[in-house]
Amino acid sequence: MNTASVSLGASVSSQSRFTQLVLSAFLGIFVIGVVGFSHIEAVHNAAHDYRHSMAFPCH
């Protein structure tokens, strides 16, 4: 397991490591959700071309 020693933030405990990684993943999903999937009209219109270009469900 010599690879583990060069992982990011290897000094933190495994439980804290798990929590922080899950937290970052959910932050990412939240960001994608707001910009790409929000039903608010103004948000939809602002990112309209982007949503189409990413093949996100739109309209």
Binding site: V6, R17, A25, I29, V31, G36, A42
Partner: protein, 262 residues
């Protein structure tokens, strides 16, 4: 929160770079096709109304024509502006700027997911590993949902928005889980389960519209599907590669992580 800070830092750089690259590709490859489709969208409205300039929704047009044939046109015309969709960026620079912003912000979002998930598997050690992770991200976020819900242009018919969004996220999750099982669990039953997970959303099937009738020419749509798929492929490859490079600089031991993939 040392690890969280590192993940956010790497994701911010990778998302910024890949988002700017994607925005540039979209400006040349996909946005011109969207603008063309909007001409068809508004022309479709113009056939049914005298006021071609009003960009009413296609669904509203269908009901409006029924109303206009039976009742006086005045109420229908009054209803059209109310149907209009709130604030929107002005065409031209403002619209482009918001697209770039959306690209960068969601680029960081995708990067956060990519970095977090890859850290569970030992992390992306260099740009080549990043390219493989990028391929996986492309398969999960573009290819799989794009099979059931192909990229759509304005004025194209589609099923209920919320149902499609639920199917989209479920497909992404199932495909990602399946790919993860294949890559990181050396077991035949789990590999079979993985294939089942990847196939399942397509057996369930994506929500489809009642009718596929659209003023958009099929050639234009096909061009758009190709443009969206290819631009997203490049986006994911760049995203993965940049994560690998930045993370390598961060840990200073890029090459020793080579064995961690599969």
């Amino acid at each position: 929160m040392n690890l969280f800070r590192n993940v956010v830092f790497i994701a911010a750089i990778a998302g910024l770079v890949a988002g700017v690259v994607l925005a540039c590709m979209q400006a040349f490859a996909t946005v011109p096709l969207i603008l063309k489709a909007e001409v068809y969208e508004q022309a479709g409205g113009g056939h049914q109304h005298e006021h071609a300039a009003a960009p009413a929704a296609p669904a509203a047009n269908a009901t409006d024509t029924n109303a206009m044939s039976s009742a006086a046109p005045a109420p229908a015309e009054a209803a059209a502006p109310a149907e209009d969709e709130g604030w929107a960026p002005a065409d031209g620079f403002e619209r482009f700027a918001f697209s770039v912003l959306a690209n960068i912000v969601t680029g960081i979002g995708f990067a956060l997911v990519l970095v977090a998930v890859s850290e569970f598997a030992g992390g992306i050690g260099n740009w080549r590993q990043g390219v493989f992770w990028g391929l996986a991200g492309f398969a999960a976020f573009t290819l799989a949902p794009g099979l059931g819900l192909p990229p759509e242009l304005p004025a194209m018919p589609a099923a209920d928005l919320t149902e499609r969004q639920i199917w989209w996220w479920a497909t992404v999750a199932a495909t990602a889980a399946g790919l993860g099982l294949i890559a990181f669990r050396k077991s035949l039953p789990l590999a079979i389960l993985a294939v089942a997970l990847i196939v399942a959303p397509h057996i369930v099937g994506a929500p489809q519209p009642d009718s596929f009738e659209t003023p958009i020419p099929e050639g234009l749509h096909h061009q758009f599907v190709v443009a969206v798929t290819v631009t997203n492929l490049v986006f994911w490859l760049v995203l993965g590669a940049v994560v690998g490079v930045v993370r390598g600089r961060f840990t200073g031991t890029a090459t020793s992580l080579r064995d961690s993939f599969a």
